[in-house]
């Protein structure tokens, strides 16, 4: 029967379709089931339709227009949808409205990704454009200094007519563009000045988790582009120095370090969050409490910082490790794209985006697991929040932009070597062969 089914036939020999169908089915059934938890919940039915649709649009429909890397797309979209799912399940426990919000952000993230793909693919004259980006980015970055609000010890938010924004998230994209543009042209000072200015503002705002990610990305990208070990080592030393300075300068850094070393000492106050995180992960055990079950909302800031603990409590540590593996595949795929790039600008851009995603994942998941002190950075794709979603999907957009250019180059090579003889047999245009 299955042989004759049109659906199974359409899957044969198309691993990307199988993967995406499985992901869509997973989320459809998850939301559908959650809708029946407690009272019948219309939001669940809506999300059961909307989320798989968004996944389909981003991973199957968009790549019709340019040859994107589908594996990378599928994983990023899985993680985004997982964020919506987990947030929606906590909504049912606590009566909040993060799930729907996150679904909207997810849509915005797909638009941001599209924008970045087009940016990398179609902008040819970066010489002037990069100036505009740099100036706009610095302006945006400085905005919270003028009228920002303090959240958990760091002043890195601005609120414009009810919508709150975290400029440092968006500027990440600009940082990568500026770094890779000037590094690929072997001009030292422009990118250094830009990076130092950005990090200066971040230090001034006391947003140290983000500053760490900016800093390490710059350093690793510098090493990758020049291979200059001496300067990289010098940079590391400087970073360690400023970390020590930060420890003595900012009270909230000192507190976080002390809490990291022994969270049980001051359980009632400063250690409360990490202790609750650890107990959440522990109560999930290997296989978790089950979707929509457990008590993850006890954890303070469960929706952003501690979302990995929520995942572990509901799905178990094994699933948590699998999520980590997905980030691993994301990194490998990103590195693959960077390696295949023909222009060093594109190569560094793709590698930079990969580094940034990898570091951010490590900083937050390492923090949640108490491997390193917990900082307030978001978990890429999964944490609640629009700016974070837009910037992470923007990073994927940059990667995909490079990937499409790579694919175009390959196609061009093929055409040249075959004198454009037989367009039907091009191996890359038609995935069936």
């Amino acid at each position: 029967m299955s042989r004759s089914s049109r659906f199974t036939k359409s899957l044969r020999g198309r691993p990307d379709r199988k993967l995406v169908s499985a992901i869509m089915l997973f989320f459809f059934s998850a939301f559908f089931l959650l809708a029946f938890k407690g009272e019948l919940n219309w939001q669940g039915f809506m999300l059961a339709a909307v989320v798989p649709l968004l996944i389909y649009i981003a991973t199957m429909w968009l790549p019709r227009f340019f040859p994107a890397d589908k594996l990378l797309l599928s994983i990023a979209n899985f993680l985004c949808a997982l964020g919506v799912l987990v947030l929606y399940s906590t909504d049912l426990i606590k009566g909040t409205n993060y799930g729907m919000q996150q679904a909207v952000y997810y849509g915005a993230g797909i638009l941001a990704m599209l924008f970045c793909i087009l940016l990398v693919r179609y902008i040819r004259y970066w010489r002037v454009f990069i100036y505009i980006i740099a100036v706009c980015a610095l302006g945006l970055m400085a905005l919270p200094l003028a009228f920002g609000t303090e959240v958990y010890g760091a002043t890195n938010w601005i609120v414009i007519s009810g919508i709150s924004l975290q400029p440092s998230e968006i500027v990440k994209l600009a940082l990568l563009l500026v770094l890779s543009y000037y590094m690929s042209r072997r001009r030292f000072w422009p990118w250094l000045i830009f990076a130092v200015l950005c990090m200066g503002v971040l230090m001034f705002q006391a947003d140290l988790g983000t500053a760490l990610i900016y800093y390490m990305t710059t350093l690793l990208l510098y090493y990758a582009s020049t291979g200059n070990l001496w300067m990289t080592g010098l940079g590391l030393l400087g970073g360690a120095g400023s970390a020590v300075y930060g420890y003595f300068k900012f009270a909230h850094v000192k507190r976080r370090i002390a809490v990291w070393r022994n969270p049980w000492m001051d359980f009632e106050n400063t250690g409360y969050q990490i202790v609750q995180i650890l107990m959440a992960i522990a109560s999930g055990g290997l296989f978790g409490m089950g979707l929509g079950l457990g008590y993850p909302t006890i954890i303070p800031v469960y929706q952003t910082d501690a979302i990995f603990a929520v995942i572990c409590e509901q799905f178990g540590i094994i699933f948590g490790v699998l999520v980590l593996c997905m980030y691993g595949i994301l990194i490998l795929r990103g590195a693959f794209i960077a390696r295949n790039a023909r222009r060093s600008f594109h190569g560094l851009l793709a590698l930079g985006a990969t580094i940034m995603l990898g570091l951010q994942t490590f900083v937050i998941i390492g923090g949640v697991l108490k491997l390193i002190p917990l900082t307030g950075v978001t978990m890429p794709f999964v944490s609640a929040g629009g700016t974070s979603m837009v910037s992470c999907m923007g990073l994927i957009g940059l990667l995909q932009g490079v990937a499409t250019v790579n694919q175009d180059d390959l196609t061009y090579d093929y055409e040249v070597s075959h004198n454009r003889a037989d367009e039907e047999s091009l191996p890359f245009a038609n995935p069936d062969t």
Partner: protein, 476 residues
């Protein structure tokens, strides 16, 4: 300088390495510490879970119901006040004042966190409220009552704080587990909360104290391990050995004159053991102490025990000399000292202490049954044999005669440990020992805060325990 793509690969490897590190660390810490994090009395999940799940029962080794849940979901303890008081540190109380009682440490069973998916689905279909698992502990609650009564009736322990642990040295099962003062879990009065003796504190597992002369078991083991022909060497006790300008004194300022190791052990001569410690040196003594579990991170499956310490800093000769007598920042819990005596009794093999006998699901399915586990080999069989002889001697004609029981061969060691409490100099009383009889394989540790003399205050309590075991425990 490496080519571009090699550097790309290096950076990628670095990132993958970071994620791998996070993953491995996460899995490691969950497997090693997960249960402890979960069992923390600060875990708010219990309070949440209690509204959905009916907590299971706690039953002692003879089937006595120690804690159950009533129709309103409240925890109910034994009706008899004396009985429920004497197991309060074992079980814990409703408000979580006692740390790591069975009620909180085994909450993952009692509150049904270990229930399998099919079982959950089945109760869902039946439309019943979920029941947690029942937990059977290894403790004999009557023995606990006897111990508390002994503490309250003996002249030298009345109104004093202390602890007692009784364990089966062959299996590691804990059969008696008491910390005094006790309090009534059904009715916690303000007087209890304000009591300066801290009744909530579980002295058996949470108080680390200088073990005093009971530590001489370890010093003697170390001497037999490291010093040749030590049994025949003669020491001189002037009652005032000089080390670095300080004086080693003996209990009651005794002077034992010329004596050898067996006698020094029997009369608990501080001067001799200080000289032995100096002969051994710090490293040898520490190695033996660490073989007995000092400085180890105790991660037992059923029970949380504070770690014991043999100091590693500021090791001057006078500190070393006092270490031979179990002073000088050496600290251990009564639970650990009971394990030390148990190791000697069990031919040098230390068993992991166990408190959980079995876990049964509401349908009567046995989910978990106690398994034996060797914690470590503390000392060789030959040396354990020699020390056992010393300890038998100590009870028959040494410092611990107060622990004798007709018809049982008892081995033991007393201790009078100098310490400071709230700024005062005090002397705590210790007794560790065991029944040297395969039919009654039980080791005992009794600790009396400010008891002054191990032989006077702690040994009589041990005697009461041994008598109870002789009368009520079945032959094994």
């Amino acid at each position: 300088m490496k080519p571009l793509h090699t550097r790309f690969r290096l950076v990628t490897l670095f990132l993958i390495g970071l994620l791998l590190l996070a993953g491995l660390y996460g899995v490691y810490s969950i497997t090693v510490y997960g249960n402890r994090w979960f069992a923390s009395s600060r875990n708010l999940r219990y309070r949440e879970a209690k509204s959905e799940v009916i907590a299971g029962d706690i039953i002692d080794r003879n089937g006595v119901l120690l804690a159950t849940t009533d129709a309103q979901g409240e925890r109910v303890y034994q009706a008899d006040k004396e009985a429920r008081q004497s197991v309060v540190h074992l079980i814990g109380d409703r408000d979580g004042n006692v740390a790591n009682g069975v009620d909180s440490f085994d909450a993952s069973y009692l509150l049904g966190f270990e229930t399998t998916l099919p079982e959950r689905v089945l109760t869902l279909i039946k439309g019943e409220q979920r029941h947690g698992d029942d937990v059977t502990v290894t403790v004999d609650s009557k023995l606990n009552t006897v111990i508390v009564r002994a503490f309250n009736t003996h002249v030298r322990t009345k109104d004093k704080s202390g602890a007692a642990v009784v364990m089966n040295y062959k299996t590691g099962e804990i059969v008696g587990f008491v910390s005094v003062p006790v309090f009534d879990p059904a009715n916690i009065s303000d007087a209890v909360k304000a009591d300066t003796r801290h009744p909530f504190w579980n002295r058996a597992t949470q108080s680390t104290l200088p073990p005093g002369s009971t530590f001489k078991i370890i010093t003697a083991s170390s001497a037999l391990e490291n010093l040749e022909d030590i049994e025949n060497r003669t020491f001189t006790c002037t009652g005032a050995t000089q080390v670095m300008g300080s004086t080693i004194t003996d209990f009651g300022n005794a002077q034992h004159g010329q004596l050898q190791l067996p006698k020094a052990f029997r009369v608990s001569c501080n001067n001799t053991f200080a000289q032995i410690a100096l002969l051994l040196g710090d490293n040898a003594l520490r190695r033996t102490a660490e073989n007995f579990g000092f400085n180890d991170n105790f991660l037992f499956r059923d029970i949380v025990v504070e770690n014991s310490t043999y100091p590693t800093e500021n090791r001057t000769l006078i500190e070393l000399a006092w270490s031979g007598d179990g002073q000088s920042q050496i600290a251990a819990t009564p639970m650990h000292m009971c394990m030390v005596a148990a190791a000697i009794a069990n031919n040098g093999v230390m068993m992991e202490p166990r408190l959980l006998s079995r876990v049964t699901s509401p349908e009567g399915l046995v989910r978990l049954r106690m398994t034996l586990k060797v914690y470590r080999r503390a000392v060789s069989e030959e040396i354990a044999e020699i020390i056992r002889g010393y300890m038998l001697d100590t009870v028959s004609r040494g410092t611990a005669t107060a622990a004798q029981v007709d018809g049982l061969s008892i081995a033991g060691k007393t201790g009078s440990a100098e310490s400071s409490l709230d700024g005062r100099d005090v002397t705590h009383a210790w007794f560790v020992g065991f029944i040297d009889d395969a039919r009654y394989p039980y080791a005992v540790c009794v600790f009396v805060e400010e008891g002054t003399s191990g032989g006077g205050a702690a040994a009589p309590i041990a005697q009461a325990i041994f008598r109870y075991i002789q009368a009520y425990f079945p032959f094994q």
